[in-house]
Amino acid sequence: MTAIDRPILEVQGLRKSFGAVEVLKGIDFRLRERELAFIIGPSGSGKSTFLRCCNRLEEPSSGAIRVDGTDILAHGVDINAVRRRIGMVFQSFNLYPHMTALGNVTLALRLASRKSKAEATDIGQAALARVGLAEKAHAYPGELSGGQQQRVAIARALALEPKIVLFDEPTSALDPELVGSVLQVMRDLREAGMTMLVVSHELQFARAAADRVVFMEDGVIVEQGPPAQIFGDPQQARTRAFVARIDGHR
């Protein structure tokens, strides 16, 4: 196995039930280093739950998940240490409203990574610069546009130097004219070689930027492959139906 093929995320037989409802029915999935994978599928297909299992915001019912070689479901694993290596970006940003952009970015650096204030500030400023918001370091979330808020949220994830970043519908809460700036940041990240797993409805972006598209329905991965295959020549009937439906909407 060459270095480039090293899996950052390995998921085996992942199942998740909420009460009697089984939302994930056995997911097997591998994500290589520097890969950008897109998960698409109808609402209720389990995409977000899958993503949230990958850093144990949801507790899987069974299965195995390894991140960069670490079994994150192992008994006694330090989940907080694991999460520092897994960035997450939320649909609703979830910035801390009582802290500045820099405060949002540096909180975990100081409390979880135990960096000094000066060091955390340097790293935080660099992360904000990466998303093009160096000059907004001292603005509060309420003073920023939705797109800027989401970029701060991305900087918050990047500051911890994660091995992988999970994006949970990062542009769904944004006004259409603000989507572009967030996608641009994601494109830059891909150029820089970040490993990313994205749940999103931005199919144009998926076509252009994704290495792989994963189609999920009813808690299983129905089909996955390069964007050209999924959008141009889907092998499964269910994928075809889904792609046809969203094409019809455009």
């Binding site: 999460r83 960035g87 939320f90 979880a112």
Partner: protein, 234 residues
Amino acid sequence: MDRFLFTFFNGEVMWEYLPKILSGMWVTTYLAAFVIVTGLALGLLLALLRSILSQTMPAPLSWLAEAVRLLIIFFVDLMRSVPPLVLIVLFFYGLPALGLDIAGLGATWLALSLVLAAFAEEIYWAGLVAVAKGQWEAARSTGLGFLQTLLYVILPQAIRLTIPPLTNRTIAITKGTALGQVVAVQEILYQAYSGLSFSSNPSPLTLGALAYLALFLPVVVVGRWIETRFAWRR
């Protein structure tokens, strides 16, 4: 008119009782300050404890946590349903019988502190619950622990939400220091009332009422300002 002034605003009588009323104001002030500090601190402690106990945990521990949680809720409900005056009198007579020699001042302080703690716990708790779930998830996703998230991310937002209701409740309970008169705490009302019986003139009562206005009217006005300033976003 002259008779009215002579009766209710008798300068001579007022002057005579002014020092007593002033000393009453001092007692009211420090009693109120102690009640506010202990009440709000205990209330916050209980709310944080309740939050910690509401976490999922393994079986034998979770039963204990549930028991303590229910105990906190019972304490809060009890202190909210029993009149403060009843508690003050009960503590005043009851605690010495238990070997705790507590004067009227101590009984009033303890009763009002517990009542304020109960109301404050409920308000803080409501504030903690009101902070969006996404805040927890965002903080935990960056590797912050439960307590770190609670103290640095959730609590500051909850406090902001709770400032208006907490201010009003604190003012209302602090005014309860006047109930200390019943157990001979020498605060304003006690001084004014004994002045009334002594001088057979209501002017000391008028003076007492003015003393209360001097202390609490600014607080009420500030409370009104805070309410509009930090209003709950509906």
